[in-house]
Amino acid sequence: MLFETFTLLLDPVIILTVFIGVSAGLFVGAMPGLTATMALAVLLPFTFTLPPLHGLVALGAVYMGAIYGGSFAAILVNTPGTPSSIATAFEGYPMAKQGRALEAIGLATVSSAVGGLAGVFFLLILSPPLARLSLRFGPAEYFWVAILGLTLIASLSEGSVIKGMMGGALGILIGTMGVAPIGGETRFTFGLPVLQGGVAMIVALIGLFVIPELYTIAAKGKTALTAVNVDSRARSSLWQVTKKVFSMPGNLIRSCIIGEIIAIIPGAGGNIANLVAYNEAKRASKNPEKFGTGVEEGLVATESSNNVTVAGSMVPLLTLGIPGAPPDAVILGVMLLHGLRPGIELFTVNAHLTYGFILSMGFAAIAMVPVGLLGGRLIYKVIFRTPYYFLVPTIALATILGTYALRNSHTDVIIMLLLGTLGYIFKQFDVAPAPIVLGLILGSIAEMGYVQTVLGGQAYTYPFLRLFVNPLSHILIGMIVFSAAWPYLSTLIRRLKNRSRNNMEGRNE
């Protein structure tokens, strides 16, 4: 069955579709502000003119390329092209500063391809049990997932944890501007109807990451990129980066599993997966203090985990009709219009189509390697050769356009610029942008989880106690306690180890 479908995909038109889709996705992903969801929506009318399989293949390829393309901007200009590569910037950009840009791009490419393939594997093999797991997440669990996510602040705040917490709380507050998700009233609009739309997470993301970087480049009078040195050029060949990526199997497997688990939670996607995978890579590392200075493990973790979510989030989509991430909503729409209803029928009556679609995402993951390496080198050369006084307005142009296109809103551009300028000032006082963005991502999830749980418990005497009743909640609470206590635990363990080693050495003398 699978093999038969596989031969179906060897059609040159399909292969061409995959390559074009991946390239288009790459462009979209590399432009801050253009999201995978938007790219898919633009593509939608075209897919109606194609046969269903071709249409779905195109959508899958664009989706895959877009999530990967976000890493270019992250590595080369310290700006996540999509929210799925926030943590890529933490390691990729320092690498580029050290003249290891090509190496970083190579690592990101191979990790993304591995992640993409892993997602396809999970989708083919583990769909039914994973889909059932995704249903266990109710409002109380969402609340705890958000809190668990907020414990990442400790590792994202570059130094002062308390300043990170301040940034996180501020991010959550910015996220509450606009219409309340529950209750429906508008908050913090300061009397302006345009603020009913609130601050979109991506607008804040672009502002907080790009604008401070542009100001820094302008103030310094030069870009931070360093020429690729000979040593690093040798290490950036496809063979060398592949070897490097596979030299950390534990990291890869861990990141892929994290990516998959987050992918099946409806509403959470690559934007959270990359941060969690990064955090876990840091926690598992022997030298966590080196993270943030261009560590390969961190880059591999984020880029593999976010591409897992592409096929991974299709698990609940194809089996239950639940979009695991926002772009999946568009794919669901296309499927319904072609008369494909999610569920068991997809895997029996329409098996060729479904398996064809799934396998084509694997094709797309592989196609990313040649497209990405070529494209990556090209983008690197362009950015490196451009003098700084040209680079600043050019990035600003792309940023303004991307922000505008997100919701066709001029207000969003103003908000982006204001937040970015504030972000530059915050940075002076060691308040990092990452916790603020994390607060924005997780704040609305936490709010909805909390208020829905309390609402749903109206018939009980103490509605808020409903947060603590489900077994899955208990597991999540345990993880939160562990995650929050880890920094202290790890120092304690290290101290104990040192002491026993000292004791041993003492005895040997």
Partner: protein
């Protein structure tokens, strides 16, 4: 120039200011809409206050605004804001060309001597760049970019 300050106290004061801004714009709306933001405002206030306290007990000091030329980023920021302000007035295309050229000219000063001839070589590059993005966004992505007096 030495611009070393106590970043804890400064950060905490910024935090408290923001807490106040959000607190005073809380409106009287239904409990469902307000209970979560209220809780977060309280948390932000507590964190900011404890940051100030930490600033007195165990301060961390750091240099601020010590990267390169402050005039240069301030002028760049100003030009960005003007650019964005003018987009709906003179249209996306014209404003992009005008302000990109201005920014290039301003920033290039620190590296090279800016002459009219240089401007004349920059202009076509900028126009080509803006046209490239303009066409992609309007023709392929169908984003209706703001128009101004001219087009």
């Amino acid at each position: 120039m030495n611009r070393e300050i106590n970043t804890d106290i400064a950060g905490g004061v910024i935090g408290l200011t923001l807490t106040a801004i959000f607190f005073f714009s809380l409106e009287d709306i239904s409990r469902l809409s307000i209970m979560f933001p209220e809780a977060i405002i309280t948390i932000l206030g507590i964190i900011s206050a404890s940051l100030v306290i930490k600033g007195f007990v165990a301060p961390s000091r750091g240099q601020i605004f010590n990267v390169g030329s402050n005039t240069r980023w301030l002028v760049t920021a100003l030009l960005f804001f003007l650019w964005v302000f003018f987009i709906p007035v003179i249209g996306f295309f014209v404003s992009a060309v005008v302000f990109m050229t201005t920014i290039v000219g301003y920033l290039a000063q620190s590296r090279i001597k800016v002459t009219l001839r240089r401007f004349l070589t920059w202009l076509p590059v900028i126009v080509a760049e803006v046209t490239f993005f303009y066409l992609i966004f309007t023709k392929i992505l169908h984003v209706p970019l703001p128009r101004g007096f001219f087009f």
